[in-house]
């Protein structure tokens, strides 16, 4: 306590807000997704599933939830259990070992639920297409609603995708 607290307070005061100003909202989601997005009423609990990615996308997702991009301001929040989740952020090509867990994660999330495939690998297996351990793209295992291309996609792409779900 004491000096440490004061110095930290000083930092907080001097730095202030680090979040960047909100970019223009993205175009609304496709129809079927829009219906569910409306049901979510501007709040999206997010569960990340690494179906076999190189962790590049995880780093970007981490950035998206960090103070600078701050997707939480749009009502998205990471949760610890798929039971609590409305949105699954799936990254990487689905490996044989992760196919079943991914299916079960999808089952565990209560309706209405949204699946976002993050990164080229998730969209179309990218680099790893046809790899011996690869089951396929995320869409081959669970129904995908939104795709965020890029290797890795930039945080604001991820933020944009989540904003289309929360509609804020």
């Amino acid at each position: 306590m004491g000096t440490a607290v004061l110095s930290l307070l000083g930092k907080i005061a001097s730095i202030g807000r680090v979040a960047e100003p909100a970019p223009t909202p993205p175009e609304p989601a496709p129809a079927d997704l829009a219906r569910r997005a409306k049901a979510l009423r501007g709040s999206a609990q997010v569960r990340c599933v690494d179906a076999g990615s190189c962790n590049g996308c995880e780093i970007e997702i981490g950035q998206a939830f960090g103070p600078v991009y701050d997707v939480e301001r749009y009502g998205a929040r990471i949760v610890a259990s798929p039971r609590h989740a409305d949105v699954l952020l799936v990254t990487g090509p689905v490996t044989r070992n992760m196919a079943e867990p991914l299916r079960r994660t999808y089952q565990a999330a209560a309706e209405p639920r949204v699946v976002i495939a993050v990164g080229d690998c998730a969209v179309d297996c990218g680099q790893f297409a046809g790899g011996y351990g690869v089951e396929g793209a995320v869409a081959d295992v669970v129904p995908v609603d939104l795709a965020v291309p890029g290797c890795p996609p930039t945080p604001d792409q991820i933020v944009a995708a989540l904003r289309r779900v929360t509609g804020r």
């Binding site: 306590m1 440490a4 607290v5 930290l8 907080i12 730095i15 202030g16 807000r17 680090v18 979040a19 909100a22 049901a39 979510l40 009423r41 501007g42 709040s43 609990q45 103070p67 701050d70 939480e72 301001r73 749009y74 009502g75 929040r77 990471i78 949760v79 610890a80 259990s81 039971r83 609590h84 409305d86 999330a109 209560a110 309706e111 209405p112």
Partner: protein, 311 residues
Amino acid sequence: MLAISLVQAFLVLFGAPLLVGWMRQLRSRLEGRVGAGMLQPWRDLVKLLRKAPQQPEGTGPAFRIAPLLGVACGGVAAAAIPLLSTRTGLGAGADLIAVVALLTLATAALALAGLDTGTAFGGMGASREMTITALAEPAVLTAVFALATRVGSTNLPAIVAATLNHGARLASPATLLAAVALGVVVLAETGRLPVDNPATHLELTMMHEAMVLEYSGPDLALIELGAAMRLTVLLGLWSALFAPWGIATGTSVAALAIALAALVAKTALLGALIAVGEVFMAKLRLFRVPELLAGSFLLAVLAVTASFFLA
């Protein structure tokens, strides 16, 4: 006055998520974020209530009743505590020990629900939560003892009214020590830092969160609402005991309006204190928590003795 009790209950019911939202908003501002706004918890609740209800295989009544019981106990406690006026409806039921017991009942029910799932995390959370609750009890009741002896009753309205009539008592060491002791317990019972981290996503460090991993949809909404109400009720109780300014002793509308403003201000202030404090605090190791609670028990004992050899 039954009306006052009902007002209090609904006040807490609707205000609790706002308090949580306020604390989260403050916290994210301190972290340099923009924050989701004070209404976010309500958005979450409404959404969860609309989601499809699920029942995990092999779970039974305990799992289904616990969320309801959490909210119900929170509401009854809110109705019993003199938040707005000392003339609450449950005059006889508004007993300090009874209120504490009610909140413990809700905790026990949730722990049973956690065990009912039969998953490792549910059991883990239940075991830890009950350990903390069990060890917090002595500090609570001894502090209650210290407060009750001067009034000669554990009836909450009586205690609050007595404090309102003798403001000087608030400055006495006994009250201060009891305040610190109960403050520590409130942190422990509401699962805030340094006892539990409400924002953790790592199962192995969870207590409260681990118990509710199986809940989803409306049940989860009730669980979160219950937790928020618990926090609000305990903060309201604390402020009623140690900062009762503004609480009406009658039932006149003007006095109640003032009391309402005072209540909002006090609760918001306490919430802000906790939120700011959590920025500077790390979670204690599970087996350091008993030390914390033993310390608060010691403070409570000091409060009892102090109420004899001082003031």
